[in-house]
Symmetry: C2
Subunit: 188 residues, 2 copies
Protein backbone atom coordinates (compact mmCIF):
# COMPACT_ATOMS: atom_id res chain seq x y z
CA UNK A 1 0.00 0.00 0.00
CA UNK A 2 1.49 3.34 -1.04
CA UNK A 3 2.14 6.25 1.26
CA UNK A 4 -0.26 8.49 -0.55
CA UNK A 5 -3.90 7.44 -0.70
CA UNK A 6 -6.41 9.47 -2.66
CA UNK A 7 -8.89 11.13 -0.25
CA UNK A 8 -7.70 9.03 2.68
CA UNK A 9 -9.17 11.45 5.22
CA UNK A 10 -12.59 11.41 3.59
CA UNK A 11 -12.60 7.61 3.32
CA UNK A 12 -11.57 7.21 6.96
CA UNK A 13 -14.23 9.66 8.09
CA UNK A 14 -16.90 7.88 6.07
CA UNK A 15 -15.87 4.46 7.43
CA UNK A 16 -15.71 5.76 11.01
CA UNK A 17 -19.15 7.36 10.85
CA UNK A 18 -20.70 4.18 9.47
CA UNK A 19 -19.17 2.10 12.23
CA UNK A 20 -20.11 4.56 15.00
CA UNK A 21 -23.72 4.37 13.85
CA UNK A 22 -23.75 0.58 13.36
CA UNK A 23 -21.88 -0.49 16.50
CA UNK A 24 -21.68 2.61 18.67
CA UNK A 25 -18.67 4.85 19.24
CA UNK A 26 -17.22 2.93 22.20
CA UNK A 27 -17.42 -0.41 20.42
CA UNK A 28 -15.50 0.76 17.34
CA UNK A 29 -11.69 0.44 17.11
CA UNK A 30 -9.27 2.36 14.92
CA UNK A 31 -8.22 -0.96 13.36
CA UNK A 32 -11.81 -1.56 12.22
CA UNK A 33 -12.11 1.95 10.80
CA UNK A 34 -8.90 1.57 8.81
CA UNK A 35 -9.96 -1.84 7.55
CA UNK A 36 -13.38 -0.63 6.42
CA UNK A 37 -11.70 2.28 4.59
CA UNK A 38 -9.20 -0.10 2.96
CA UNK A 39 -6.31 1.73 4.62
CA UNK A 40 -3.81 1.08 7.43
CA UNK A 41 -3.94 2.20 11.05
CA UNK A 42 -0.80 4.19 10.36
CA UNK A 43 -2.63 6.16 7.70
CA UNK A 44 -5.47 6.76 10.18
CA UNK A 45 -3.04 8.29 12.66
CA UNK A 46 -1.54 10.52 9.99
CA UNK A 47 -4.97 12.19 9.72
CA UNK A 48 -6.52 11.89 13.19
CA UNK A 49 -4.99 11.77 16.67
CA UNK A 50 -7.69 9.35 17.87
CA UNK A 51 -11.15 8.07 16.97
CA UNK A 52 -12.85 10.98 18.71
CA UNK A 53 -11.08 13.52 16.53
CA UNK A 54 -12.93 12.17 13.49
CA UNK A 55 -15.99 13.89 14.94
CA UNK A 56 -14.27 17.10 16.09
CA UNK A 57 -11.58 17.98 13.55
CA UNK A 58 -13.96 20.39 11.78
CA UNK A 59 -14.55 22.46 14.93
CA UNK A 60 -11.49 24.69 14.55
CA UNK A 61 -12.22 25.63 10.94
CA UNK A 62 -15.86 26.31 11.85
CA UNK A 63 -14.69 28.56 14.69
CA UNK A 64 -12.28 30.35 12.37
CA UNK A 65 -15.07 30.96 9.85
CA UNK A 66 -17.33 32.39 12.57
CA UNK A 67 -14.63 34.63 14.04
CA UNK A 68 -13.84 35.94 10.53
CA UNK A 69 -17.53 36.62 9.94
CA UNK A 70 -17.71 38.65 13.18
CA UNK A 71 -14.52 40.54 12.29
CA UNK A 72 -15.66 41.35 8.76
CA UNK A 73 -19.31 42.16 9.46
CA UNK A 74 -20.38 45.67 8.35
CA UNK A 75 -19.67 48.14 11.13
CA UNK A 76 -23.32 49.21 10.97
CA UNK A 77 -24.42 45.88 12.49
CA UNK A 78 -25.10 45.77 16.24
CA UNK A 79 -23.64 42.97 18.41
CA UNK A 80 -26.53 40.53 18.12
CA UNK A 81 -26.92 41.06 14.34
CA UNK A 82 -23.17 40.51 13.98
CA UNK A 83 -23.36 37.22 15.85
CA UNK A 84 -26.44 36.21 13.85
CA UNK A 85 -24.56 36.77 10.59
CA UNK A 86 -21.64 34.63 11.83
CA UNK A 87 -24.04 31.84 12.78
CA UNK A 88 -25.67 31.99 9.36
CA UNK A 89 -22.22 31.64 7.77
CA UNK A 90 -21.64 28.53 9.92
CA UNK A 91 -25.11 27.26 9.00
CA UNK A 92 -24.35 27.61 5.29
CA UNK A 93 -21.15 25.60 5.72
CA UNK A 94 -22.92 22.84 7.63
CA UNK A 95 -25.62 22.63 4.97
CA UNK A 96 -23.00 22.00 2.30
CA UNK A 97 -22.01 18.87 4.16
CA UNK A 98 -25.50 17.43 3.62
CA UNK A 99 -26.13 14.34 5.78
CA UNK A 100 -22.88 14.58 7.76
CA UNK A 101 -24.03 17.00 10.51
CA UNK A 102 -27.18 14.96 11.16
CA UNK A 103 -25.25 11.70 11.36
CA UNK A 104 -22.64 13.28 13.60
CA UNK A 105 -25.31 14.56 15.99
CA UNK A 106 -26.92 11.11 16.22
CA UNK A 107 -23.55 9.64 17.22
CA UNK A 108 -22.90 12.37 19.80
CA UNK A 109 -26.38 12.13 21.32
CA UNK A 110 -25.78 8.42 21.97
CA UNK A 111 -22.59 8.95 24.01
CA UNK A 112 -22.19 11.01 27.22
CA UNK A 113 -18.42 11.46 26.78
CA UNK A 114 -18.95 12.92 23.31
CA UNK A 115 -21.72 15.16 24.63
CA UNK A 116 -19.25 16.58 27.18
CA UNK A 117 -16.71 17.22 24.46
CA UNK A 118 -19.39 19.00 22.41
CA UNK A 119 -20.35 21.21 25.37
CA UNK A 120 -16.71 22.19 25.82
CA UNK A 121 -16.39 22.95 22.11
CA UNK A 122 -19.46 25.20 22.22
CA UNK A 123 -18.17 26.99 25.33
CA UNK A 124 -14.84 27.70 23.55
CA UNK A 125 -16.77 28.95 20.56
CA UNK A 126 -18.64 31.43 22.76
CA UNK A 127 -15.34 32.67 24.19
CA UNK A 128 -13.88 33.12 20.68
CA UNK A 129 -16.97 35.03 19.54
CA UNK A 130 -16.83 37.24 22.64
CA UNK A 131 -13.19 38.07 21.90
CA UNK A 132 -14.01 38.84 18.26
CA UNK A 133 -16.72 41.27 19.44
CA UNK A 134 -14.22 42.90 21.81
CA UNK A 135 -11.97 43.45 18.77
CA UNK A 136 -14.86 45.34 17.16
CA UNK A 137 -14.99 47.61 20.18
CA UNK A 138 -18.02 45.98 21.83
CA UNK A 139 -17.61 46.05 25.62
CA UNK A 140 -18.75 43.60 28.29
CA UNK A 141 -21.29 42.43 29.36
CA UNK A 142 -22.81 43.11 25.92
CA UNK A 143 -20.18 41.12 24.00
CA UNK A 144 -20.47 38.07 26.19
CA UNK A 145 -24.25 38.32 26.36
CA UNK A 146 -24.48 38.44 22.54
CA UNK A 147 -22.03 35.56 22.04
CA UNK A 148 -23.50 33.23 24.68
CA UNK A 149 -27.08 33.94 23.64
CA UNK A 150 -26.07 33.41 20.02
CA UNK A 151 -24.58 30.00 20.76
CA UNK A 152 -27.76 29.02 22.62
CA UNK A 153 -29.89 30.10 19.64
CA UNK A 154 -27.58 28.19 17.29
CA UNK A 155 -27.89 24.93 19.23
CA UNK A 156 -31.66 25.19 19.31
CA UNK A 157 -31.84 26.08 15.60
CA UNK A 158 -29.54 23.19 14.73
CA UNK A 159 -31.68 20.68 16.64
CA UNK A 160 -34.82 22.01 14.96
CA UNK A 161 -33.17 21.71 11.57
CA UNK A 162 -32.32 18.07 12.26
CA UNK A 163 -35.78 17.22 13.53
CA UNK A 164 -37.63 19.08 10.76
CA UNK A 165 -35.63 17.05 8.26
CA UNK A 166 -36.37 18.85 5.04
CA UNK A 167 -38.48 21.99 4.77
CA UNK A 168 -36.47 25.02 5.84
CA UNK A 169 -32.75 25.56 5.48
CA UNK A 170 -30.58 25.86 8.59
CA UNK A 171 -29.98 29.54 7.80
CA UNK A 172 -33.71 30.17 7.60
CA UNK A 173 -34.23 28.48 10.97
CA UNK A 174 -31.37 30.47 12.54
CA UNK A 175 -32.94 33.70 11.29
CA UNK A 176 -36.38 32.67 12.54
CA UNK A 177 -34.97 31.72 15.96
CA UNK A 178 -33.34 35.13 16.38
CA UNK A 179 -36.69 36.66 15.49
CA UNK A 180 -38.37 34.55 18.16
CA UNK A 181 -35.71 35.54 20.72
CA UNK A 182 -36.38 39.19 19.98
CA UNK A 183 -40.13 38.74 20.30
CA UNK A 184 -39.77 36.72 23.50
CA UNK A 185 -37.48 39.19 25.26
CA UNK A 186 -39.67 42.12 24.18
CA UNK A 187 -42.86 40.56 25.57
CA UNK A 188 -41.20 39.46 28.84
Amino acid sequence: MGRWEPNAQGRLEQAAMELYVERGFDQTTVAEIAKRAGLTERTFFRHFSDKREVLFWGASSLQELMVDAVTNAPSSLGPIATIASALEAAGALLEQRREYPRLRQTIIDANPELQERELIKLASLAVAMTDALHQRGVGDPTARLAAETGIAVFRIAFDRWISEDGGRSLCQIIRASFGELKEMTASG
Copy 2:
Protein backbone atom coordinates in the same frame (compact mmCIF):
# COMPACT_ATOMS: atom_id res chain seq x y z
CA MET B 1 -14.38 9.18 67.89
CA GLY B 2 -18.15 8.85 68.07
CA ARG B 3 -20.38 8.00 65.15
CA TRP B 4 -22.25 11.25 65.29
CA GLU B 5 -20.29 14.44 64.77
CA PRO B 6 -21.94 17.85 65.05
CA ASN B 7 -22.08 19.54 61.65
CA ALA B 8 -19.71 17.00 60.10
CA GLN B 9 -20.81 17.90 56.57
CA GLY B 10 -20.18 21.61 57.08
CA ARG B 11 -16.79 20.98 58.68
CA LEU B 12 -15.73 18.64 55.86
CA GLU B 13 -16.87 21.13 53.25
CA GLN B 14 -14.98 23.96 54.95
CA ALA B 15 -11.79 21.86 55.23
CA ALA B 16 -12.06 20.68 51.62
CA MET B 17 -12.52 24.19 50.24
CA GLU B 18 -9.54 25.49 52.19
CA LEU B 19 -7.33 22.68 50.89
CA TYR B 20 -8.56 23.03 47.29
CA VAL B 21 -7.60 26.71 47.38
CA GLU B 22 -4.27 26.16 49.16
CA ARG B 23 -3.00 23.12 47.23
CA GLY B 24 -5.28 22.75 44.24
CA PHE B 25 -8.11 20.25 43.78
CA ASP B 26 -5.98 17.49 42.20
CA GLN B 27 -3.34 17.65 44.93
CA THR B 28 -5.83 17.22 47.78
CA THR B 29 -6.74 13.78 49.16
CA VAL B 30 -9.82 12.72 51.10
CA ALA B 31 -7.52 11.68 53.96
CA GLU B 32 -6.21 15.24 54.20
CA ILE B 33 -9.71 16.72 54.13
CA ALA B 34 -10.86 14.43 56.93
CA LYS B 35 -7.75 15.18 58.98
CA ARG B 36 -8.16 18.96 58.62
CA ALA B 37 -11.82 18.64 59.69
CA GLY B 38 -10.83 16.48 62.68
CA LEU B 39 -12.93 13.59 61.33
CA THR B 40 -12.34 10.19 59.75
CA GLU B 41 -12.33 9.23 56.07
CA ARG B 42 -15.29 6.99 56.84
CA THR B 43 -17.24 10.00 58.02
CA PHE B 44 -16.28 11.82 54.82
CA PHE B 45 -17.74 9.00 52.72
CA ARG B 46 -20.95 9.03 54.75
CA HIS B 47 -21.51 12.58 53.45
CA PHE B 48 -19.83 12.70 50.01
CA SER B 49 -19.26 10.04 47.35
CA ASP B 50 -15.89 11.60 46.40
CA LYS B 51 -13.92 14.83 46.72
CA ARG B 52 -15.61 16.32 43.64
CA GLU B 53 -19.05 15.98 45.19
CA VAL B 54 -18.08 18.50 47.88
CA LEU B 55 -18.36 21.11 45.12
CA PHE B 56 -21.49 19.76 43.42
CA TRP B 57 -23.80 18.38 46.12
CA GLY B 58 -25.77 21.65 46.17
CA ALA B 59 -26.63 21.46 42.46
CA SER B 60 -29.68 19.25 42.84
CA SER B 61 -31.32 21.39 45.53
CA LEU B 62 -30.59 24.53 43.49
CA GLN B 63 -32.22 22.88 40.47
CA GLU B 64 -35.22 21.87 42.56
CA LEU B 65 -35.60 25.43 43.83
CA MET B 66 -35.49 26.81 40.28
CA VAL B 67 -37.96 24.28 38.90
CA ASP B 68 -40.35 25.05 41.78
CA ALA B 69 -40.00 28.77 41.05
CA VAL B 70 -40.93 28.19 37.39
CA THR B 71 -43.86 25.97 38.37
CA ASN B 72 -45.22 28.42 40.93
CA ALA B 73 -44.65 31.67 39.02
CA PRO B 74 -47.83 33.74 38.46
CA SER B 75 -49.56 32.59 35.27
CA SER B 76 -49.46 36.20 34.02
CA LEU B 77 -45.67 35.98 33.58
CA GLY B 78 -44.34 35.24 30.09
CA PRO B 79 -41.64 32.58 29.55
CA ILE B 80 -38.61 34.84 29.91
CA ALA B 81 -40.00 36.66 32.96
CA THR B 82 -40.75 33.25 34.52
CA ILE B 83 -37.17 32.10 33.96
CA ALA B 84 -35.86 35.43 35.27
CA SER B 85 -37.84 35.00 38.50
CA ALA B 86 -36.44 31.46 38.95
CA LEU B 87 -32.89 32.76 38.46
CA GLU B 88 -33.47 35.50 41.01
CA ALA B 89 -34.62 32.85 43.49
CA ALA B 90 -31.38 30.95 42.84
CA GLY B 91 -29.41 34.17 43.17
CA ALA B 92 -30.97 34.89 46.56
CA LEU B 93 -30.00 31.41 47.78
CA LEU B 94 -26.42 31.80 46.58
CA GLU B 95 -26.13 35.17 48.29
CA GLN B 96 -27.10 33.60 51.60
CA ARG B 97 -24.01 31.43 51.34
CA ARG B 98 -21.76 34.53 51.38
CA GLU B 99 -18.17 33.73 50.39
CA TYR B 100 -18.85 30.10 49.44
CA PRO B 101 -19.96 30.64 45.79
CA ARG B 102 -16.96 32.88 45.08
CA LEU B 103 -14.52 30.42 46.57
CA ARG B 104 -16.14 27.53 44.73
CA GLN B 105 -15.85 29.36 41.41
CA THR B 106 -12.15 30.08 41.99
CA ILE B 107 -11.55 26.36 42.55
CA ILE B 108 -13.56 25.37 39.45
CA ASP B 109 -11.86 27.95 37.23
CA ALA B 110 -8.48 26.46 38.11
CA ASN B 111 -9.38 22.91 36.99
CA PRO B 112 -10.51 21.80 33.49
CA GLU B 113 -12.17 18.63 34.76
CA LEU B 114 -14.30 20.63 37.20
CA GLN B 115 -15.15 23.12 34.45
CA GLU B 116 -16.50 20.24 32.34
CA ARG B 117 -18.59 19.01 35.24
CA GLU B 118 -19.95 22.54 35.72
CA LEU B 119 -20.89 22.79 32.01
CA ILE B 120 -22.76 19.49 32.26
CA LYS B 121 -24.56 20.68 35.39
CA LEU B 122 -25.66 23.89 33.65
CA ALA B 123 -26.82 21.95 30.58
CA SER B 124 -28.96 19.69 32.82
CA LEU B 125 -30.34 22.76 34.52
CA ALA B 126 -31.44 24.18 31.14
CA VAL B 127 -33.18 20.89 30.33
CA ALA B 128 -34.99 20.90 33.70
CA MET B 129 -36.12 24.52 33.20
CA THR B 130 -37.32 23.72 29.67
CA ASP B 131 -39.39 20.82 31.03
CA ALA B 132 -40.83 23.03 33.78
CA LEU B 133 -41.91 25.57 31.13
CA HIS B 134 -43.51 22.76 29.10
CA GLN B 135 -45.53 21.89 32.24
CA ARG B 136 -46.81 25.47 32.22
CA GLY B 137 -48.02 24.97 28.66
CA VAL B 138 -45.15 26.82 26.94
CA GLY B 139 -44.31 25.12 23.64
CA ASP B 140 -41.00 24.71 21.81
CA PRO B 141 -38.88 26.41 20.61
CA THR B 142 -39.96 29.17 23.03
CA ALA B 143 -39.48 27.06 26.16
CA ARG B 144 -36.00 25.95 25.21
CA LEU B 145 -35.04 29.38 23.95
CA ALA B 146 -36.13 30.98 27.25
CA ALA B 147 -34.38 28.34 29.39
CA GLU B 148 -31.08 28.28 27.47
CA THR B 149 -30.93 32.06 27.17
CA GLY B 150 -31.74 32.34 30.86
CA ILE B 151 -28.87 30.03 31.83
CA ALA B 152 -26.49 32.07 29.65
CA VAL B 153 -27.64 35.29 31.35
CA PHE B 154 -27.25 33.65 34.76
CA ARG B 155 -23.65 32.58 34.11
CA ILE B 156 -22.72 36.04 32.92
CA ALA B 157 -24.48 37.72 35.85
CA PHE B 158 -22.78 35.35 38.29
CA ASP B 159 -19.32 36.13 36.89
CA ARG B 160 -20.03 39.86 37.09
CA TRP B 161 -21.19 39.50 40.67
CA ILE B 162 -17.94 37.76 41.58
CA SER B 163 -15.75 40.30 39.81
CA GLU B 164 -17.65 43.35 41.11
CA ASP B 165 -17.08 42.03 44.62
CA GLY B 166 -19.42 44.15 46.63
CA GLY B 167 -21.67 46.84 45.19
CA ARG B 168 -24.77 45.24 43.69
CA SER B 169 -26.48 42.07 44.85
CA LEU B 170 -26.57 39.03 42.56
CA CYS B 171 -30.33 39.49 42.10
CA GLN B 172 -29.82 43.10 41.03
CA ILE B 173 -27.21 42.04 38.48
CA ILE B 174 -29.47 39.26 37.15
CA ARG B 175 -32.28 41.78 36.69
CA ALA B 176 -29.95 44.26 35.00
CA SER B 177 -28.59 41.56 32.68
CA PHE B 178 -32.08 40.59 31.51
CA GLY B 179 -32.71 44.28 30.84
CA GLU B 180 -29.54 44.43 28.75
CA LEU B 181 -30.54 41.30 26.85
CA LYS B 182 -33.88 42.89 26.02
CA GLU B 183 -32.25 46.11 24.87
CA MET B 184 -29.63 44.25 22.83
CA THR B 185 -32.10 42.01 20.99
CA ALA B 186 -34.38 44.97 20.31
CA SER B 187 -31.61 47.09 18.76
CA GLY B 188 -30.25 44.18 16.65
